[in-house]
Structure formats: structure tokens, C-alpha cells
Amino acid sequence: MTRFDTTVTTVRQVAPGFIELGFTWPAHLQVPLPGQFFTVKTGGSKYDPVLRRPFAFSSFGSDSTAYSIIQMKGRGTAWLGGRRTGDPLDVMGPLGTAFSAPPASASPVLLAGGVGLGPMLYLMESLVRQAADGACAAPVLAAGFRTASLVPAIGLPAGTVICTDDGSAGFRGTVVDWLAGTATDAPPYLYACGPAPMLAAAAGLARATGARYEASLEQWMACGVGACAGCAVRLVSGDYIKACVDGPVYDGLLVDWESYR
């Protein structure tokens, strides 16, 4: 974990309201693992906005470029959308926990909702390599969107199952609906990132089928390193974990999704 000043290599719109950000990753730092995240100081002022913005890695290039898919929702992400190649970028990372490797006996199933696609793409990069080495079964990615126009213009992995809420592309329904109606060769090992209702539904399905389930959590956070205890996520045990250091990847069966928003 470290803070560094680097350079933007790419900012391009991949769907209405969504960008892919690329930036140079310092060669001396650990290559980020799928599931980990970084934070960016946005805006031109040291006074405002105060909080760094957390984003998941979506890819890592052999030229030591890190990528992220970012939904432009507020002033921080709008500022990022206005960056150009060569602009400076204040980054802290890699932060948080990573997805674990699936057991060889399981079928990895990756569920992505909306902007949750980013970390699932990065995990796919890794699992496809592991499957080629025979370490796990071939992974399947299901990516859900509200409608066809929000499917990003990036090279999705071969075999990606597209789901849309309105049926305008691919499967009509959510990624969890799709999985509920789909048989896998081996017990599925679930990975998911997306809106809280989707993560909660996936937890219900995992519980019903006895599947292992790793969810990527999202929460407002201030420090990103475990110092402030701001990004609390409640567990079914009643305890709280910190999304930034105990997560963002956490056992989805242990999270109190009722409390989660």
C-alpha cells in the first residue's frame, strides 16, 4: 500500500455514463490482484472534494498499465471523466483483499451487475489462465445491465452471458435469475460484484445450493487503509468489518445483506 503520482494513459467512454480509465502502474509495486482496489484524489483542489474515491481494477496490461471501469455518478467521477492522456493522477494502492482461487473441483461462476463488471473482468483474466493450466474448470461470466445500450464497448470474454433487465439483449432478467435456471457441470463457486440487492440475491442462491460465495463489497470510505473505521459492513454475527481492509472481497454468506445499502 502506497500513494504515488502517476500518469493517465487512457480515458474513454465505454457506455453512456461509463468510462475506462487507464494509468501507469509503478514497476516497483506489487501487481494488483483481482478484487483489490485503488483510490484516487479527484479535483484540482487540496480542499475539495476531501475524500479519495475507491475503484476496482478491471484489467492489468503487460505494459504495466492498470485499468478500471468507472461509472460517472458524482463530482469526483465527473472530474475523472475529464482527464486526458498524459494528465497527472494521484493514486493509492493496491488496497484490500483479493478473490481467492477456486478449488479444482468447482465451476467458477462470475456474476457482474452494472459497474461491478470491472473486477469480474479482471478476475476472468486470471481464471482463464488458471483454467488453461488445469488449475480450475473454465470460468463463466454473466454480466447484467439495465438495458442493451449500457453493455460496454469493450472486448468481453468469449462466452460471456449478457443479461438485461428489459430483455433488450441476451437473457431477460438478472444474472441471479440466469444462474438459478442454469445447471453447471460441477458445484458452482460464486464470485459477484454489483448492486447490493443483486449481491443479496446471490447470497440467497448460494445458501440454497450450498455454493461457496465471494462478494465484492462497496461502502463509502474515507481512508481506504483501515484507520478510520468509516466503511463498516455489518455481518450476520452483528460484528462489523471494514470494507477497505477486511474486504472488499468477503465471504458473501457472512454479510448481513438486510442491513446493507
Binding site: 487540496k46 480542499y47 475539495d48 476531501v50 475524500l51 474515507a222 473505521a229 468509516g230 466503511c231
Partner: protein, 313 residues
């Protein structure tokens, strides 16, 4: 002494009671955990003081989420004093903290006067601590906290009980004052009357953000404590008032982001400062603030930190 010439090596030390801090720049309680996280990023021995996250007698899980929300040039937090409790602190956090060369000041909190006493008395026999900061001003707990900080009689009585427990010549007791009062000078005088070695101000200001679509407060507990650059002018004014009301040192904090911000506090009358929310956005801020203060002292001909407060016109 103030000379018209540059001072190549100003004396950066600050004295609080029996404690000599190596420099005036500390890190504020609640923004720095127990030093573990930022200790991985830079050498904490460079700090003037490390004020720990609050310690209460028992473990506290903290408040429901969401606990934080961003505001214009600031943020609200409602953490709820989440901490491992005094035993957890001593067993899990103190071993690493006690290896630091910078002074470690434990922020003490509770719901009753006896809670504060229990924490302080338990720590009296532990090594590796330099002092206590008494948190009578947390706005985010249902009992205690802010309640102590708004009644001068309670401030004086609690301070006296803690000073009696620590003993004269013992570790310094710094009382952290709330800005959520009509007259902070009255609270500073109460702390001084109770025997405090210093006061620190300001803690956060009570604030609320409402989600107009959901028509409810964003924070689960409704209100939270406002920190960040937005509150700096409030903090500077309160340090100005408090430092003129008492003869004990005043430690200034609230929205310090750079050396220029910290120098405002020192000119207003602060003996030392703390960097808080800025640790989140730029962890090396305390080191940059220290360098900037030293450069200003050299340029302005200040030979020691206490010269600052004599300069304000």
C-alpha cells in the same frame, strides 16, 4: 526569540506539562487508528505526537452504517467510538505503539466519569505512553461524550479526578474540547481549573446531510461530526479565544491540510497542532506541514515554536 535574520535551525520542540514533543505536528485521534496503517507508509517517529483512536473500558462495535458522508470541503463521521476496549488496546495495539519514538497520547473516552477513570487507571501501569487526551467532546455516542464537554462543572470535575489518578508530575492530561458550545473559553477555563496540562480544540461540529430522494438522513444515526477544511476557520477562531482565556497550552486542530493552515493556528495561539482528515486524502500531510512550519520559522526569524503566538497583530 524573534530576529530579523533567518534562523537556520529553529527549536521545533513543544512542552506540554512534563512532556517534550519533538515538534508541533501531531496526528488527530480517530484519523490515524493506532498507527499500524500509516506506519506502513512512512516513519512515524517524524511525528510530534500520535493521538490514538479513542479507547473505552470495553469493546465497542461502533455505529451502524453508513458512518461517513462527504460534505463541501469536509466530511461527516459517525463511527461511534468503535475500539477494542482497554484490554484489547493493551494486548493488541500497545506493543507496537510502545516501540515508537514519537510521543503516543491515548485518547480516552467513556459514557460515565468512572469509564474515563477506569481507562486512565489501567494505563497508568503501562509503559510506552506519553500522555492522555480526554475526549469529552465526541458527538457520536448516545451517552457521555459531548454531554461532558458542554457543562463546565463536569469538565472541571472529570479533569480533576483524572489528574488525581495520574498524579502531579505524571503524564500530561490534555482535555479535548467541543466546538458545540456557546463559549469555548469557559470550557477551557474549566479544564484548566481542574488541573489540565493542556486543552485541544476543536473536535468535530455536529452536522447532518439529508438524502432528498430517500427523505432521510444519509448517516444511519442521523447526525455526525463535521471535519475537514470547511471547519478550519471555526477552529482557528476557537483556538484564538481559548488561548487567551487560559495559561496552559492549546493544541489546535480542525481542517489543517497544509503548512499555511497550521501556521494560522499557531499564530492564533496554538502551542501545537494536529492533522486529522487530511491524513485520509494525503497521508504524508503531517510531514509536509512540519517542513512548511520549519521553513516559515527560518524565513520569519522564529527561533522557537512559542514565538508564533507573539506575532499576531
Amino acid at each position: 526569540m524573534i530576529t530579523k535574520e533567518t534562523v537556520p535551525h529553529p527549536d521545533m520542540t513543544v512542552r506540554i506539562g512534563t512532556l517534550v514533543m519533538p515538534n508541533p505536528v501531531g496526528v488527530a485521534s480517530g484519523t490515524f487508528g493506532y498507527g499500524e496503517e500509516y506506519g506502513a507508509m512512512y516513519n512515524l517517529d517524524a511525528l510530534g505526537a500520535l493521538y490514538t483512536k479513542a479507547v473505552t473500558p470495553g469493546y465497542r462495535a461502533g455505529n451502524p452504517a453508513p458512518r461517513i458522508v462527504e460534505t463541501p470541503a469536509g466530511m461527516l463521521n459517525s463511527i461511534g467510538l468503535a475500539n477494542p476496549g482497554i484490554d484489547g488496546f493493551i494486548n493488541e495495539k500497545l506493543p507496537a505503539l510502545s516501540t515508537l519514538r514519537c510521543p503516543v497520547i491515548v485518547n480516552v473516552a467513556g459514557s460515565t466519569e468512572d469509564d474515563y477513570l477506569r481507562v486512565v487507571e489501567r494505563l497508568q501501569t503501562e509503559q510506552g505512553l506519553a500522555g492522555y487526551e480526554i475526549n469529552i467532546s465526541c458527538p457520536n455516542v448516545a451517552h457521555g461524550g459531548l454531554a461532558f464537554g458542554t457543562d463546565p462543572d463536569q469538565v472541571e470535575r472529570l479533569t480533576r479526578r483524572i489528574k488525581n489518578a495520574v498524579g502531579s508530575g505524571g503524564r500530561p492530561v490534555i482535555v479535548k474540547l467541543s466546538p458545540n458550545v456557546t463559549d469555548i473559553a469557559e470550557m477551557a477555563r474549566a479544564a484548566e481549573a481542574g488541573g489540565a496540562d493542556a486543552v485541544s480544540c476543536i473536535n468535530t461540529l455536529v452536522g447532518m446531510v439529508i438524502d432528498i430522494e430517500k427523505k432521510r438522513p444519509v448517516l444511519a444515526r442521523g447526525t455526525g461530526g463535521l471535519s475537514g477544511p470547511a471547519i478550519r476557520p471555526v477552529g482557528v477562531a476557537m483556538v484564538y479565544k481559548a488561548s487567551r482565556a487560559v495559561s496552559i497550552p492549546v493544541v489546535g486542530l480542525g481542517g489543517i491540510t497544509c503548512a499555511e493552515d497550521a501556521i494560522q493556528y499557531l499564530l492564533a495561539g496554538a502551542a501545537a497542532v494536529q492533522v486529522g482528515t487530511a491524513n485520509f486524502s494525503r497521508p504524508e500531510t503531517p510531514l509536509e506541514v512540519l517542513d512548511g512550519i520549519a521553513a516559515y520559522m527560518q524565513r520569519e526569524g522564529l527561533s522557537k515554536v512559542s514565538d508564533f503566538r507573539t506575532l499576531l497583530r
